[in-house]
C-alpha cells in the first residue's frame, strides 16, 4: 500500500504542473502540488500509526484531485 501511494502521489506531483494552466490559475495548481509533496514526504518518512494516517490522508487527497488531474492531462 505504501509503495502504491508513493507512486500515485509521484504521478500526481508530475501532473500538477502550473505550466499547463493560465496565469490566474497557476497558484491553485502550485498549492495542490505542495500539498501532494507534503503527503509524499509523509508516506516516505513516517512509520506505524503515523504512516497509516499519512496513507489514509493521501488516498483521500488523490480521490479529491482526480478530476483536476484528468482535466490537466486532457489539455483542459
Amino acid at each position: 500500500m505504501k509503495e502504491q501511494t508513493i507512486e500515485a502521489l509521484g504521478k500526481a506531483i508530475e501532473a500538477l504542473d502550473h505550466n499547463k494552466v493560465s496565469w490566474v490559475n497557476k497558484h491553485l495548481v502550485i498549492d495542490l502540488n505542495e500539498k501532494a509533496t507534503v503527503l509524499l514526504k509523509s508516506v516516505e518518512h513516517f512509520e506505524d500509526d503515523e504512516l497509516q494516517k499519512a496513507i489514509n490522508v493521501s488516498q483521500e487527497f488523490l480521490r479529491d484531485i482526480e478530476n483536476v488531474i484528468s482535466k490537466l492531462n486532457g489539455g483542459l
Binding site: 502550473h18 493560465s22 496565469w23 497557476k26 497558484h27 505542495e34 500539498k35 509523509s42 487527497f61 490537466l72
Partner: protein, 362 residues
C-alpha cells in the same frame, strides 16, 4: 537607504505589473490600473533590482514557484474583484490578455464560471483539500514531518501552514488566562524555555520577543500540545514570574499607599521640631486657632520676625486660615521692617488672602 522608490515593470503575457520598490520592500503594486498587494521575498526583490533593465519579462523567473504563486494569486484576486464589481473594462482586458483560459465560443464570464471549467474545478479542489487538512488537525502531524525532512518545497508549505495556525491562536488575556489550569508538562516546558532564553517581559512590538514566542510554540507543538494552550502557557508563566518577583499590581498599589502614609508620618514628625513656618503649617493642620497660637509662638522662624510681620502672620494664618505657601513666604522674606516693605507685604498677602477665600467658597 533609498530616498526615493524606484519603479519596475514586470511583463506577464505582455500585461505590465508595476512595482515601486524602496529599501528592498514593495511600496506599491499596480495591475490593470488597480492598486494591488503582492508579497515577494527579499531574494526576488533583489533579483528585480539588479536586473539591467527596469522592464523585466516574467519568463526570467521561470521555475521560481514563489514568484509565480504571488503574481498568480494577485491576478486571481483582481479577476474575482472585477467579476464582483462587474467591471467590464478590466474583464475585457483579461479576456484579451490570455491570462485566463478562455473558451472563445462562449461568453467570457460564463466560461470562467463554468462549474466544470478548470478554474472552478481548481478552486473547489483547493478548498476541499484545505478543509481536509484542517479537519484532520494536521498541524502537529506536519510539524513532526518538518523535523524529519529537509525539503525546501515541502518546508515552505509547512512554514506557511504553521504560521497560519500561530496567527489564529487565541490572544492572551491576563484576567481570563492567568489562573487557567494547564498541563503540568506544558507549564514545565514553558518555565524551562523562558529560563533558558532569559526572557523577563514580553513586548509584542519587539521582533525578538515575537520570535521567542513562536519558537516556544513550535517546541510545544513538537511535544504534542495545542497552539492555543502553548501561547497561554508562555504568557502565563511570564506573568507568574513577574508576580513572584515584583508582586501583583494590587500588591504594588497598596505598598505605594503604605509608603506614602509612612512619608507623611515622618514629615509630620520632622515638622514637630517647629523650626520653620512650613513646619508650623504641617503640625497645626487640624488645630483650633487657640491651639495654633500656642504652637506659633514657639516657632523659630516666627520668633525671628519683626513685630509688624508677626502681627500680620497671626491674622493671616490663625484667623483667616491663609495657607502658608512658597509665595506667601517669599512675600514675608522680601518685606522689611520699614513701612514701605511692610505695605508691599500687606498688599501681596491681601491678594493671596482674597484668592484663598474665593477658592474656599468654590
Amino acid at each position: 537607504m533609498d530616498l526615493f522608490s524606484k519603479r519596475y515593470t514586470i511583463l506577464v503575457n505582455d500585461e505590465p505589473v508595476e512595482l515601486s520598490i524602496k529599501n528592498n520592500k514593495i511600496r506599491n503594486a499596480y495591475f490593470m490600473n488597480n492598486r494591488m498587494s503582492i508579497e515577494l521575498s527579499e531574494d526576488i526583490i533583489k533579483q528585480i533590482q539588479t536586473y539591467p533593465s527596469t522592464v523585466i519579462n516574467a519568463d526570467k523567473f521561470d521555475g521560481n514557484a514563489e514568484f509565480t504563486k504571488s503574481i498568480s494569486k494577485m491576478m486571481s484576486q483582481q479577476l474575482d474583484l472585477a467579476i464582483l464589481r462587474n467591471d467590464k473594462t478590466t474583464l475585457s482586458r483579461f479576456a484579451r490578455s490570455g491570462l485566463v483560459e478562455n473558451d472563445k465560443t462562449a461568453d467570457f464570464l460564463q466560461s470562467i464560471n463554468n462549474p466544470t471549467g478548470v478554474r472552478k474545478l481548481l478552486i473547489n479542489t483547493v478548498d476541499r483539500t484545505n478543509s481536509m487538512f484542517k479537519i484532520l488537525k494536521l498541524d502537529r502531524f506536519l510539524d513532526k514531518l518538518k523535523e524529519k525532512i529537509a525539503d525546501t518545497k515541502a518546508d515552505a508549505f509547512l512554514q506557511t501552514f504553521q504560521q497560519d495556525q500561530f496567527n489564529k491562536a487565541v490572544g492572551y488575556d491576563s484576567k481570563l488566562h492567568l489562573h487557567q489550569e494547564l498541563d503540568t508538562e506544558l507549564v514545565t516546558l514553558a518555565s524551562n524555555f523562558i529560563k533558558n532564553h532569559n526572557i523577563e517581559v514580553f513586548d509584542a512590538e519587539k521582533v525578538e520577543d515575537k520570535q521567542s514566542e513562536e519558537l516556544f510554540m513550535q517546541t510545544a507543538l513538537r511535544n504534542g500540545f495545542l497552539v492555543d494552550d502553548a501561547k497561554i502557557a508562555f504568557h502565563q508563566t511570564l506573568e507568574k514570574n513577574q508576580i513572584s518577583k515584583y508582586g501583583t499590581i494590587e500588591d504594588n498599589l497598596s505598598l505605594i499607599e503604605k509608603l506614602k502614609s509612612n512619608i507623611e508620618f515622618l514629615e509630620k514628625q520632622d515638622a514637630m521640631k517647629n523650626k520653620t513656618l512650613k513646619d508650623f503649617s504641617k503640625v497645626s493642620e487640624d488645630m483650633t486657632p487657640v491651639e495654633k497660637i500656642d504652637i506659633l509662638v514657639k516657632n523659630e522662624e516666627y520668633l525671628s520676625m519683626n513685630e509688624a510681620q508677626k502681627l500680620r502672620l497671626e491674622n493671616d494664618v490663625i484667623y483667616d486660615d491663609v495657607p502658608i505657601t512658597d509665595e506667601y513666604l517669599s512675600n514675608i522674606d522680601t518685606s522689611s521692617a520699614d513701612m514701605g516693605g511692610y505695605q508691599e507685604f500687606n498688599y501681596n498677602n491681601d491678594r493671596l488672602k482674597s484668592q484663598h477665600q474665593v477658592n474656599t467658597q468654590q
